[in-house]
């Protein structure tokens, strides 16, 4: 009756904790390829620039639990669904009753970086590389961040805040290409430039120049940028190679039901690795909150006859870009109606994308009031009323109205059980 969890990131950890809480008699083994597990990946940029001490990176740990085994520094090499077992690097075989795959995404590195090793180049994904980058950055303070994803933008801002010279290089289009509309990006780019970050768009990486074994310049979009550090944030892709031949993959992807179940009813997936198939769409939010909620749900669903579907399929992402607050509610959708409120002078843009009257995404920049309420409305998947659509205006112009309650005697309590609006 053992449950094995592959991957000790946020999703895997949450799954392990939930399993232990729900089934106190069942042993759980968590296997992770990294030497250290249980840390806040999201805080690596702050850690790299020295704004956060290393001990803050780790999850608060509870009591020693004899039925929870955490094996670190070892990779799962194969899974055999028929014999319900997996093998580890080194050949050891472990049997499972239920399996949760939560092995996240591996950093994707552009092919050109596969050349001869060169000092000063680090992917932004794991603690080992973050430690190396941190040490390197102390006397190599001219940085190029490659990739305009959220991780790239976030890292660039923290580096700049710490006083480093930063250029943010984006292969095509604009920064946050898959997350924001061009109008919203304009506001962010103007703010980043104001912070002193150089932004190079439509600039694919063409050449790397090194001297003495360390990077000293990059050619991007036909132009040379001198730098002594290259931080790579060009996205992640789950490593599913060890699942080949298991029948769990579709076109190399680990597709799961809304209840996070794979094609093998004993195997579930959670976090960045899971691609949820729901209403004809394939959804992979790749966010921290999703890793938590999916990790929990996968553990809850392990023994349910009918797995409970995941309730929140949104990919909400928020961050503060050194004074500019931003909440991404969902990527632009072609053909969607856009309602917006903008004040360019104050770096404010709030927009919602509507399809058939339902909110499907949007962004709040510079003024993030009502973000949680709008998130709940997106989740409700129903048509917005005019008043709800009015939430796109900033706080000063809208209030939530309660119906007249004359003569009402009893106490009204918004249930703290499960919030729903």
């Amino acid at each position: 009756m053992t449950c094995i969890i592959v991957g000790g990131g946020r999703a895997g950890f949450q799954a392990a904790m939930t399993c232990r809480m729900l089934r106190p008699d069942q042993a759980v083994t968590l296997i992770d390829a990294e030497k250290e597990t249980g840390y806040y990946r999201t805080l690596l940029p702050q850690f790299m620039v020295g704004a956060l001490p290393e001990e803050r990176l780790f999850f608060p740990t509870g009591n020693n639990d004899p039925l929870l085994t955490v094996r670190t520094g070892v990779r799962v090499k194969t899974v055999d669904c028929d014999s319900r077992s997996l093998t580890l690097e080194g050949g050891e075989t472990l049997g499972y009753d239920r399996l949760i795959l939560a092995h996240g995404g591996d950093p994707y590195l552009p092919g050109i970086l596969a050349g001869p090793p060169c000092h000063g180049i680090f992917p932004i994904r794991d603690l080992t590389n973050a430690r190396r980058a941190k040490a390197w950055l102390t006397d190599h303070r001219q940085v190029v961040v490659l990739g305009g994803s959220l991780v790239g933008v976030k890292t660039a801002v923290h580096l700049r805040q710490a006083g480093l010279a930063v250029a943010l290089v984006v292969r095509r289009g604009h920064i946050l290409l898959r997350a924001l509309s061009p109008e919203s990006t304009e506001v962010i780019e103007a703010h980043l430039r104001g912070l002193g970050i150089e932004i190079c768009v439509n600039a694919p990486l063409e050449e790397i120049s090194a001297s003495g074994g360390a990077i000293d310049a990059l050619k991007v979009g036909g132009r040379w940028l001198s730098c002594n550090t290259l931080l790579v944030a060009t996205g992640t892709a789950p490593d599913t190679s060890f699942l080949e031949g298991t029948g769990l993959l579709t076109d190399g992807k680990l597709i799961v039901s809304p209840g996070l179940q794979t094609s093998d009813p004993r195997i579930f997936a959670a976090g960045d690795v899971a691609v949820i198939s729901s209403r004809g769409e394939k959804i992979s939010p790749n966010t921290w909150p999703q890793a938590v909620s999916q990790g929990r749900l996968a553990a809850e669903n392990l023994y349910r006859a009918v797995p409970t579907p995941h309730r929140d399929m949104t990919r909400i992402n928020a961050m503060d870009l050194h004074g500019l607050a931003m909440v991404i509610l969902g990527p632009p959708v072609s053909g969607a109606e856009v309602i917006s409120h903008a004040r360019a002078d104050a770096f404010v843009r709030r927009e919602l994308f509507l399809v058939a009257g339902r909110a499907v995404g949007g962004a709040l920049i510079g003024d993030i009031t009502a973000a949680g309420t709008i998130h709940a409305l997106i989740n409700s998947q129903r048509q917005l009323t005019a008043r709800e659509a009015g939430l796109i205006r900033p706080r000063t112009e809208n209030v939530i109205r309660f119906p007249e309650q004359t003569g009402r005697r009893a106490a009204l309590i918004l249930s703290p059980k499960r919030s729903s609006l």
Binding site: Y40, T42, L43, Q46, R56, F59, P60, W288, P289, V292, S293, R296, D312, I316, N317, A318, M319, D320, G323, A325, V327, L329, I368, T369, A370, A371, G372, T373, H375, A376, V399, I400, R401, F402, P403, E404, Q405, T406, G407, R408, R409, A410, A411, L412, I413, L414, S415, P416, K417, R418, S419, S420, L421
Partner: protein, 178 residues
């Protein structure tokens, strides 16, 4: 678990709770006079929504499955074992605002100047929540969740009785709350 209950028929929408919460919990000076002169302007953790005839003071519900708790990127939000409440450890908060985008009630607020999120902790370390204390009409009350369950049970019974009374003819809309 204890929660703050609201008597809807008593709330006038006067915002006294907002004012005093801001001064007591958000300001350095702890008096209204000092609070209004401070920068950043002290932020209350309760917000009165709606208008005359339908006002409602909203604060954190300390949800049993709290979306904000799952969302927190740093572990700053946690559940206090003893009280069951969702509490923020300010020194761990980095002001990323992820939690604010996950609270469906919109009651965890960004304090941009202080770079931390703020929310109601039911004045855990005080004798009584400030809002409950100052409400001129006593529209707010600290209640045990079980008491509320009882109250709701009572309402359900009344509804059943009333429905039986009308002999299933037509439809009757009852005052059964939301």
């Amino acid at each position: 678990m204890k929660v703050i209950g609201v008597y809807m028929d008593r709330c006038l929408g006067c915002k006294t709770c907002e004012l005093y919460c801001g001064a007591e919990r958000g300001s350095e000076g702890k008096t209204l006079l000092a609070a209004v002169q401070e920068t950043p302007v002290p932020r209350p953790r309760v917000r009165v929504e709606g208008g005359p005839g339908g006002a409602f003071p909203l604060q954190c519900r300390h949800c049993l499955q709290a979306p904000c708790l799952d969302a927190c990127l740093t572990g700053a939000l946690h559940r206090d074992e003893k009280s069951g409440m969702v509490i923020i450890q300010e020194e761990r908060c980095i002001g990323c605002w992820t939690c604010t985008a996950f609270c469906p009630y919109g009651v965890i607020y960004p304090s941009c100047e202080r770079k931390i999120a703020v929310k109601c902790d039911r004045c855990l370390y005080m004798e009584k929540p400030v809002c409950v204390d100052v409400c001129p009409t006593q529209a707010l009350e600290v209640m045990e969740l079980d008491e509320i369950e009882e109250l709701l049970g009572e309402k359900r019974q009344n509804t059943t009785k009333a429905l039986a009374g009308v002999g299933r003819e037509g439809i009757r809309i009852l005052d059964i709350g939301r």
